[in-house]
Amino acid sequence: MSNKIKHVGNARHWPGLLLATVFFFAYVYLPIVILIALSFNENRTVTVWTSFSFDWYKMAFQNRDIINAAGNSLLIATVASTTATVIATLAAVRMSVDNFKGKTIFSGLVALPITVPEIVPAVATLMFFASLGITLGLGTVIIAHIAFCIPFAYLPIRARLEGMDPRLVEAATDLYASPVKAFFKVTLPLLLPGILSGMVLAFIISLDDFVTTFFLGGAGSTTLPIYIFSLVKTGVTPEVNAISSLMLLLSISLVSLSLFLGRDQSRK
């Protein structure tokens, strides 16, 4: 073979690509792994490894401020994600069958909270509440969280409705089911995995939120991210590693759950 240009062959195999991908995942996961490893470090200096210990977790669980912050986080995330999911489900179900003039405007409106950088609606809502003389606290945080949770719940539910066979509902109404009955007997059961998946995602987004809570919170609405931020800003104690690791593990388990729920649905 005297051919100077060699046939390069396999389309699936590219030199260097595996290496680049390994580098990519190292970049993505190494900081998380190091954080979790250091949370078990017995040493106070945070970044030098000495020996394995659960001390920081024990300390975190005995810290009243952390327990209160965790309680606030769970309360806000639960109320905001369930409310947002109910509101989003109603809208998504109607949007899939309704045709009206302002339909595109509504679609844009729902996506608005995730289109603009979070800092902008956060300070805008701060000025809105302050101008009305409303005291900042748990209430204002929950309202703002409901607003930005709606798109996270709405978009997956809407996507699932698109993939649903409209003939199922038609069949139910042909068999003299009222629209309400058809919704509860046909649409809702089929949609349920999607709704739960959307709700879990909204829950995580609310639980992890920092910016909105930081600007709209007041006395008594300190959440875990706010507490972690204040610790990081004032000087890191290894307790931060412990609560941070717990938050990471919680998000990872919840998102796995959500994706699992979502996957089940798409297989039907």
Binding site: I5, H7, V8, A11, R12, W14, P15, A20, T21, F23, F24, Y27, V28, L30, P31, I32, L35, L38, T45, V46, T47, V48, I87, L90, R94, M95, D98, F106, L109, L112, V116, P117, E118, I119, V120, P121, V123, T125, M127, F128, A130, A147, I150, Y154, P179, V180, D208, F210, P225, I228, F229, V240, S244, M247, L248, S251, I252, L254, V255, L259
Partner: protein, 298 residues
């Protein structure tokens, strides 16, 4: 038959709540913000309602001296330019790091594709604050990177990594990387591998195939990925707050400051409008680019 309610009433009942929540707690506050940006400033924190003033916008470029004359002050403009520069840098790094991974993912078997997509998506759903905090542990003077380098004997003094522009760029890339990989993967995933094979059969080199076949097919994904990384980077608050210092302030932090220590609502509101305008320009650019490349929006 069962439809006792008119379609308009059903619409109001079902779509109404979502529209009301976002309308009242997002849209009205944004309109209020636009109004506040042209109001007089109350020095005790707040605004003098009804007193129209362009002072907040003037403040972006000029400083008012004691004798009421204006002098040019480029400090704020520098922060805006730095935000744009850091966001562009983040977008370019994300593209360089993300593209090979997306191509690798797109050429795997379906089972591996699912696993890799899950692995790319997972970090996005974990706490942004915590993920940025993890980088403090790596970048600080006695952190993992400096520790490793000095242990290897490469450096004797710790490198100043934290509180630099580089640290902010690394943190922003880390925060938004999945938004680059997933759209590129989505456009490459649909690619017919036989196109690549026929290019090879026609003696195209790998480089030529990449440039003539693969990259053109990936363009819609690349454009979407760039916008999805650029926009949140531009409005970032957490990353520059944790990994940056006084010299790496971005627009988001400058806005935040106006509602804390600086107590200047109209200026904060005007900066918010500026940030929104920059986001709108980027999105318009994206829409135009999309039209040009003929990519489908779905």
């Amino acid at each position: 038959m069962a439809g006792r309610l008119s379609p308009i009433k059903i619409r109001a009942l079902l779509i109404g709540p979502a529209a009301a929540v976002i309308g009242i707690f997002v849209v009205i506050p944004l309109l209020l913000m636009a109004w506040i940006s042209i109001q007089g400033r109350d020095y005790s924190g707040g605004v003098i309602w009804g007193e129209l003033s362009g002072e907040a916008y003037l403040r972006m470029i000029f400083e008012r001296e004691l004798d009421d004359s204006l002098s040019v002050n480029l400090n704020y403009i520098m922060i805006v330019l730095r935000s744009v520069w850091l966001s562009l840098l983040t977008t370019v790094i994300s593209l360089l790091v993300g593209f090979p991974t997306a191509l690798f993912m797109a050429t795997r078997t379906p089972k591996w594709k699912a696993i890799l997509v899950f692995m790319v998506t997972l970090p996005f759903w974990t706490n942004l604050l915590v993920r940025n905090y993890a980088w403090i542990l790596l970048l600080r003077d006695h952190g993992a990177i400096n520790g490793t380098l000095s242990w290897l004997g490469i450096i004797s003094e710790p490198l100043p990594l934290l509180h630099t522009q580089l640290a902010v760029a690394i943190g922003l890339t880390y925060s938004f990387l999945p938004f680059m990989v997933l759209p590129i993967y989505a456009s490459l995933e649909k690619m017919d591998l036989r196109l690549v094979e026929s290019a090879f059969d026609l003696y195209a080199t790998r480089f030529m195939t990449l440039r003539r076949i693969i990259i053109p097919l990936a363009i819609p994904g690349i454009v979407a990925g760039c916008i999805l990384v650029f926009v949140p980077s531009l409005g970032a608050y957490v990353t520059p707050e944790l990994l940056g210092g006084g010299k790496t302030l971005m627009i988001g932090n400058l806005i935040g400051l106006q509602f804390g220590a600086a107590r200047n609502w109209p200026f904060g509101a005007a900066l918010g409008i500026l940030l929104l305008a920059l986001v709108m320009i980027s999105l318009t650019f994206y829409a135009l680019k999309l039209k040009k490349t003929g990519g489908d929006t779905k």
